[in-house]
């Protein structure tokens, strides 16, 4: 499934620029501890987290995640979005908790 299809299907809000690279989703990873995500997330994964500081951009970029999906409507400072746009990192947001989002991503991608 392509990232654009996932955004539509799960009704996710795109916080970063709209002309993103429409990558193939390979699965998902849930986690808020950055080094844990660094070590475990796979390329092309949807990274679901409530962590919303500037360091998430580097983690997503360096692990080749397809996108960051912020759960629980986490607020994001403007400068983080700008940094993500500079590094071509896609950030999405949803009001749902990580548990529900993980289930929905799994249904959409793995089934």
């Amino acid at each position: 499934m392509k990232l654009s299809e996932l955004i539509k299907r799960l009704d996710l809000k795109l916080l970063t620029k709209s002309d993103f690279e429409d990558r193939e989703i390979t699965g998902g990873y849930c986690g808020d501890l950055l080094s844990w995500v660094m070590g475990k997330a796979k390329p092309g994964n949807v990274w679901i987290t409530i962590m919303s500081n500037v360091n998430i951009v580097a983690v997503a970029s360096l692990t080749d995640a397809a996108c960051i999906l912020l759960s629980e409507n986490m607020n994001l400072e403007r400068e983080i979005i700008e940094k993500a746009d500079e590094q071509d990192v896609v950030i999405l947001r949803s009001s749902k908790p990580s548990y529900i989002l993980a289930a929905e991503v799994f249904q959409a991608v793995e089934k």
């Binding site: 080094s35 660094m38 390329p43 580097a58 360096l62 590094q87």
Partner: protein
């Protein structure tokens, strides 16, 4: 090819910039994406350690014919017990650092996992030099 980076201590807004920059350089060199990813992850972890624990330092990233070698050198407090620090889940990071999502105790284990070789030379009160190598 040799690149040098200054790593500022305790500055989390710019933490990871050296790793991001070097990843871009490796992409331009046309190296396999899996290799680039391994280098990027190992380098980021070492960079973050330098920011959090080393109080900043210097980084030298070298690309030779058959390997990539990255050296981080800091003048921080040194590592008390390297064997303990290598254990997954062990961390001496403060509560404030943990609130930022760091301090999971996975830094050195991740470097060991993604690099082909890891050497640590540390002295209490003098600092730490970490050398990681990824074979091409």
């Amino acid at each position: 090819m040799v690149l040098q980076y200054q790593i500022p201590g305790n500055d989390f807004s710019s933490a990871g910039e050296a790793s991001s920059n070097f990843k871009t350089v490796l992409k331009k060199l046309g190296l396999p994406s899996q290799t680039i990813r391994r280098v990027a992850i190992a380098m980021y972890e070492a960079e973050i350690n330098t920011v959090i624990h080393g109080g900043g330092g210097e980084c030298k990233a070298e690309v030779n014919g058959d390997r990539i070698r990255i050296t981080f050198c800091d003048h921080g407090p040194g590592i008390q017990d390297v064997n303990l620090a290598m254990q997954a889940g062990y961390s001496t990071a403060s509560e404030k650092i943990r609130e930022l999502g760091f301090g999971a105790g996975m830094g050195l284990p991740n470097i060991q996992k993604y690099a082909d070789d890891l050497q640590i030379d540390t002295e209490i009160g003098k600092g730490t030099t970490l050398v990681l190598t990824v074979n091409l």
